[in-house]
Amino acid sequence: MSSFYDEVQELRLRYPEGTRSAVLPALRLAQERRGWLSREAIEEVADALELTPAYCYSVASFYDMFHLEPVGRHTIDVCTNVCCGLVNAQAVLDAFERELGVRPGETTDDGEITLRAVECLGGCSTPTIVAVDHVYRQSMTPEDVPAILEGLGE
């Protein structure tokens, strides 16, 4: 695996010299490697881009997909916007809460799974949308919840 620094330099080549456009891709890369954006991860991004950690943190803190706190090894995002809500989103979210014993925004005690409620994921014709480790599962019902969790356990 090439070093993080080198990979970030590759990302920078996609954009004109002297711009900060690689911040988002670099933060994403750092998060993919470390699971979340710790202080060290942010500093690493800043070093590679010749920016201050404060700047990189300010950008990261704006976006929902960046985790500034540790998250579980797996993430489960349940859409609870209107279109999923009209069908059965809350029942799906309730089922996850019951099975996992956590509230939305929390991580299971073993550090395995973080449950989140999220805004519209753009899958409105097949509610409820559940993104399991960022992969969309369509038309999910409360009955599907045990199978999803079993799949993560394997």
Partner: protein
């Protein structure tokens, strides 16, 4: 696990032309349905003539603003008049609740988007295209990147480079100037206009910004001819087809391509199979969650900007979400307000504070602690948001909430008289959890206002 229904409901097939259920992801499959022929022809023509054809087609923006695409392109200076490079940015940050069409374009006909990009690049003589795709779209990103790589490998990009830039979760980045900020590696906060992006967009250079569906419609304009295209749909202003996004309490939800001018009744009942069970239609989230809700008496209004506009509606991003009689409209207004509160970037006070205030007011109505005066206050707050900010995010909260209070005032009053929600657990949106406190963009304490 069911798949999204994507089909041409009524001809002609333009954006979905050639798609028969199997995604046209490979270059070969797209070429087999006439792909890249329009690009080859366009490249033999004078760029200005291509822009003129776009103007003649009267293609309007499919992202929600309905701005004439050709005119926008004509605002871009020609390379001899400017030292900076000329950019195209494609808005693939599809996040408007109820909208799921751009992702289907990127999944089913990704090369059509690439071809449209390259025709637009020829028209404005741009060599650099950024496609800003929302960070949550993973499969869509891979499909699109695959198409770009294959086109590059086949020499189709020629001197043009297309970079797919992934967002990281922020609805506001669908706003064009916030998108530019985000693309420049900043927090996605809208800019003051002017200067408009055509003059000073990304990297302070002239930039053409268009929605995915707008760009993916361009090859079809040249395939049928701009003059013919301008006759499709509801001319003169609403030309061509739309990928309507049908969802909610409807039998057959999906993405349906159909000409502008079909009615919501036709789309919902004939194409979509109507409301399931013995339920009845109560309201339609029309155009997206950012706009006034439609009441059943307006279901025969043609889905074109002019007809909708006369009745105070917007075509937006082609959203038609059916809400049946079980749903409490206060809960709907509350959930919509919560969304915009969460997504407000916090830059303009009327939006940052106003969206939060609307959430508190809707919550008070739902819980039965509000008074009649609070309904008037809600309309007043909406009025003090609309048109008072740098972008329309605040308006997007105010318009639907105000429309609910105005059109369903009796239902709001029932809440006041009943000391809370009369629907109980029967309403489908009852107790719906909103992610307002997770990673909110707005660093204001929830209690700060009341």
């Amino acid at each position: 696990m069911s798949e999204t229904v994507v089909r041409v409901a009524e001809g002609p097939a333009l954006v979905l032309a050639g798609y028969e259920g199997e995604p046209l992801r490979s270059l070969g499959s797209y070429r087999a349905v006439g792909g890249y022929v329009q690009l080859e022809q366009a490249r033999t023509r004078d760029p200005q003539a291509v822009i003129q054809d776009l103007i003649e087609s009267n293609l309007r923006g499919r992202g929600g603003a309905f701005f004439p695409t050709g005119r926008k392109a004509s605002f871009i200076p020609t390379p001899d008049k400017i030292a900076n490079p000329i950019y195209i940015t494609v808005n693939a940050d599809e996040s408007e609740p109820g909208t799921f069409k751009d992702r289907e374009i990127m999944l089913k006909v990704p090369h059509r988007l690439v071809e449209g990009c390259l025709i637009a690049a020829h028209a404005i003589q741009s060599k650099r295209i950024y496609i800003y795709i929302r960070g949550e779209y993973l499969e869509e990103f891979e499909s699109l990147q695959g198409a770009i790589d294959e086109a590059r490998g086949a020499g189709i990009l020629a001197e043009v480079e297309i970079v797919v830039h992934r967002g990281a979760g922020a609805y506001i980045c669908g706003e064009e100037t916030a998108l530019l900020e985000s693309l420049e590696g900043k927090r996605g906060q809208p800019r003051s206009k002017p200067p408009f992006p055509a003059v000073s967009g990304v990297y302070a250079s002239p930039t053409l910004i268009n929605n995915v569906e707008s760009i993916a419609t361009i090859p079809a304009i040249f395939a049928v001819g701009p003059e013919e295209f301008a006759k499709i749909g509801a001319p003169p202003d609403s030309t061509g087809t739309r990928l309507f996004c049908l969802s909610g309490n409807v039998e057959r939800p999906g993405v349906y391509e159909a000409p502008h001018g079909i009615t919501p009744r036709h789309l919902i009942y004939d194409i979509g199979g109507g409301v399931p069970g013995a339920h009845t239609l109560k309201a339609v989230m029309m155009g997206g969650s950012s706009f006034p809700v439609m009441t059943p008496d307006d279901l025969d209004t043609p889905l074109d900007a002019d007809s909708l506009g006369k009745k105070g509606y917007f075509i937006g991003s082609g959203v038609v979400t059916v809400i049946d009689e079980r749903t409490c409209i206060v809960q709907f207004a509350l959930r919509v307000a919560q969304f915009y509160m969460h997504e407000s970037c916090g830059k303009c006070t009327p939006c940052r504070v106003g969206t939060r205030w609307l959430v508190q007011l809707m919550r008070a109505v739902e819980d039965g602690t509000a008074t009649e005066a609070d309904l008037d206050l809600t309309l007043d707050v909406c009025d003090r948001i609309i048109g008072k900010c740098l972008c329309v995010l605040g308006d997007s909260a105010a318009m639907p909430v105000a429309s609910c209070v105005t059109k369903f005032r009796d239902e709001f009053r029932e809440h006041l008289a009943h000391g809370g929600c009369p629907f109980g657990a029967d309403s489908q949106l009852a107790g719906l959890f909103a992610p307002v406190d997770q990673h909110s963009h707005t660093p204001v304490a929830q209690e700060a206002l009341v």
